[in-house]
């Protein structure tokens, strides 16, 4: 197990290295420079370039960046002078992580409940309603949902605050819901089909033949078997949350890295763009690794080598 985890971590680092390399060179071909203020004198421009090390040859810049990244130093922001990228991200990451985690937990739990309810009431009204709801949940993008929520519960019936973060928990409710709907819908559908399959399986037939009640069968046999495949969804769902949160953080004025990311693109704040990309990639890979390890722990058939 530990050997497997170490191996996966090594692979993760290598992938991160590739991500850094690709982003670094992509940044180079991005048009424009961050210093296109026409008032800048050539001397001032040269001065700025030296400060940021942009006058060095490309391979030197790349090398410096890599070495820095290895030490957790992703350079200094162009936009906010004297602010290191690591600090900028470090301040904002916990906010985004909390939002994402809340949305994931709420979404998956809601999905597990609705999916099981759907499967156990296969083809009747409950199942039909949940089917429609989950189809909507999958097809409506989270930012549209965010806007609708802001309108409904911020203005029409002002129940929750619609902007800001950290002053009270209630500020996180609407953005969490907006983000949680899609994972909830995906999980519902997945759990439904897995559960229907489990309920028609031979081992459930045997459980019935043992005299277990329908409730015992679901709780002791069907749930566990239909939850294992759901774990594999968590990686992709987390990816969806990362991209979804960029816009949601904009809508609800949440100071997370998503908002930061969006702001840094028009201002061509290359170090921040790159740093955020690397952090996104790292988070995604860690999520996938965690799901794989969880699957191995929960599913006795998976043996890690």
């Amino acid at each position: 197990m530990w050997k497997y985890i170490l191996k996966r971590l090594a692979l993760l680092l290598f992938t991160l290295f590739l991500v850094i390399t690709v982003t670094f060179f992509l940044m180079q071909i991005m048009p424009g420079t961050p210093f296109n203020n026409p008032k800048l004198t050539p001397e001032a421009l040269a001065q700025l370039k030296t400060t940021y090390g942009l006058d060095l040859p490309l391979w030197q810049q790349y090398w410096n960046y890599l070495v820095g990244a290895l030490h957790g130093d992703f350079g200094t922001s162009f936009q906010y002078q004297n602010q290191s990228v690591s600090m900028l991200i470090g301040q904002r990451l916990p906010v985004s992580a909390q939002l994402g985690a809340q949305a994931l937990v709420v979404g998956v739990i809601a999905g597990l409940i609705m999916g099981a309810a759907s499967a156990r009431n296969k083809n009747n009204k409950i199942d039909g309603t949940l089917g429609i709801v989950s189809t909507l949940g999958i097809s409506v993008p989270s930012f549209i949902l965010g806007i609708v929520l802001v309108y409904l519960f911020g203005f029409k019936w002002p129940l929750f605050p619609v902007s800001g973060w950290g002053d009270s928990f209630s500020q996180s409710i609407l953005p969490t819901i907006a983000l949680a709907v899609s994972p909830a819908a995906v999980t519902t559908r997945f759990v439904r089909s897995e559960m229907i399959e489990a309920l028609s399986s031979d081992y459930v037939q045997l459980a019935k033949a043992k005299g277990l009640s329908p409730k015992e069968i679901v709780n002791k046999h069907a749930y566990r078997n239909s939850m294992i495949p759901v774990l594999t969804l968590i990686g992709p769902m987390a990816a969806g949350l990362l991209t979804g949160s960029t816009l949601i953080e904009q809508i609800f004025s949440i100071p997370g890295i998503g908002q930061q990311f969006v702001l840094s693109i028009p201002s061509k704040d290359f170090p921040v763009i790159m740093g955020t990309t690397v952090v996104y990639a790292a988070m995604l890979m860690v999520m996938i690794l965690i799901t794989d390890i969880l699957t191995a722990i929960i599913d006795p058939r998976v043996r890690l080598q």
Binding site: L206, K208, A209, K210, G211, L212, S213, H221, N225, D299
Partner: protein
Amino acid sequence: MSNPILKVENLHVNFNTYAGTVQAIRDVSFDLNQGETLAIVGESGSGKSVTTKTLMGLNAKNALIPDNSRLIFKDRNLLDLTESDWQSVRGNEIAMIFQDPMTSLDPTMKIGMQIAEPLIKHRNMKKEDALKRALELMKGVGIPDSEEHINDYPHQWSGGMRQRAVVAIALAADPEILIADEPTTALDVTIQAQILNLMKTLQKDTGSSIIFITHDLGVVAGMANRVAVMYAGKIVEYGTVDEIFFNPQHPYTWGLLNSMPTTDTQQGGLQAIPGTPPDLLEPPKGDAFASRNAYALAIDSKEEPPFFRVSDTHYAATWLLDERAPKVTPPVKIQKRWAHWREMQEQESQA
């Protein structure tokens, strides 16, 4: 011997489907005696599994059983039970062994726990006590080094070992009736023999009655006391093993005997009964086997044959037994088999 623990009377099972009503079981009656093994044999689709599922109250949702059908077990009609009554019968008084050991165990639950489950449910045992008993059961069904394997998961075991675990689950709560629906079909021949032997020994110890379902008469001889032959949702002949093997009366039984794989290679190869079973959406008038029957009489397509008595224990539903029918003898091939079986029996009794 004639002390029935279960009486099945006029059982009908229909299934509602989009195409119409499938008449899967059409008036089946039989008794199961205390401590005996009754084999139900018949081709695939003849209604064996539906019969067993009905006995467990586990039929599909589209099943419809008319009110005059009765399953009398311990002075009550099982067909009147509510779902929660059924739960105290299943796995407790009547237990079942399924066909495919590869799929019938829960892949995510430890095998010891799966064996302990019926005990926790029906004997109100605590988990530790139930697991202790599960260990004994594992030893009882011949799992080597049971202590080390009680926490294994199914994927760690071979098919034969898994079927032993399935047998242990069925026996856990000491049921009066054990139903085995083709318990060895999914296993290879040597393992098959082991499982059948295991069931026989266990039956001697527990005194339970067994309903043994198979499409293969070959495994019946060593297992059963009595045999019921099923065709198209009906029992067409029943009797003791000797009566069915050495004095079969129904041409369908002849066909089954003829298609038995045996060690005597005189005829070589399998001889399946020609033709296919009838459509149970619209069962034919008269004898359902008539269209495949080389010995069919004119009346077969008009009127259904009643059961004719051959002996006190042996009945067959074929017009050939009517006194007006021409006398026919079973096919030569079967007569050759009898000679061969008698030889084998003599050799065995000498040995």
